[in-house]
Amino acid sequence: SQTIHQWPATLVQPVGSPLSLECTVEGTSNPNLYWYRQAAGRGLQLLFYSVGIGQISSEVPQNLSASRPQDRQFILSSKKLLLSDSGFYLCAWSLGSPGTQYFGPGTRLLVL
């Protein structure tokens, strides 16, 4: 069966510092991968999705970027964090075009 991992689980970072969040999926090949942000009172916002290695679609222009260096690895990055980047970041995967999305446990990011 498939398993999705995210780390770290919790992160506290100062404003202006860099960010790297990692998501990996086990037990499948060629998944579609997604990054969402869940901010208080703002619901779930799709940030990026990828249908293959090196292919990234950005949904919201902002301070963040995504990369997919390996088939089952998806990384969310920032060069300089803003206070507004605080939130709960969720990674998801699906199979097919586009398939049903399954979510990881999330990373809580607090920017101070």
Partner: protein, 113 residues
């Protein structure tokens, strides 16, 4: 514009009572529909989904949902709630070939003893 609406922000229900969570969608064509549940500090877990066919869909944890095209609704129900059903519930939708899943704002369910 495509959207998903959950009219109820918060619902309180007694343990053992029935639960119904409302979801309405606004799409040009019938979208694929989903219900997810999120416990505090956790990721989202898929409860059930509807693509086509039988309009009454059974899911995990004793939940079911009914698709009503005439009302553009996909309401979630459970006959008898347990204290462990206290969580936030999200309705979501997408069109057939779209990778973007649109979520409702969520409904928080509180279960009282």
């Amino acid at each position: 514009a495509q959207s998903v609406t959950q009219p109820d922000i918060h619902i309180t229900v007694s343990e053992g009572a029935s639960l119904e969570l409302r979801c309405n969608y606004s799409y040009g064509a019938t979208p694929y529909l989903f219900w997810y549940v999120q416990s505090p500090g956790q990721g989202l877990q898929l409860l059930l989904k509807y693509f086509s066919g039988d309009t009454l869909v059974q899911g995990i944890k004793g939940f079911e949902a009914e698709f009503k095209r005439s009302q553009s609704s996909f309401n979630l129900r459970k006959p008898s709630v347990h204290w462990s059903d206290a969580a936030e519930y999200f309705c979501a939708a997408r069109v057939a070939n779209d990778y973007k899943l649109s979520f409702g704002a969520g409904t928080t369910v509180t279960v009282r003893a």
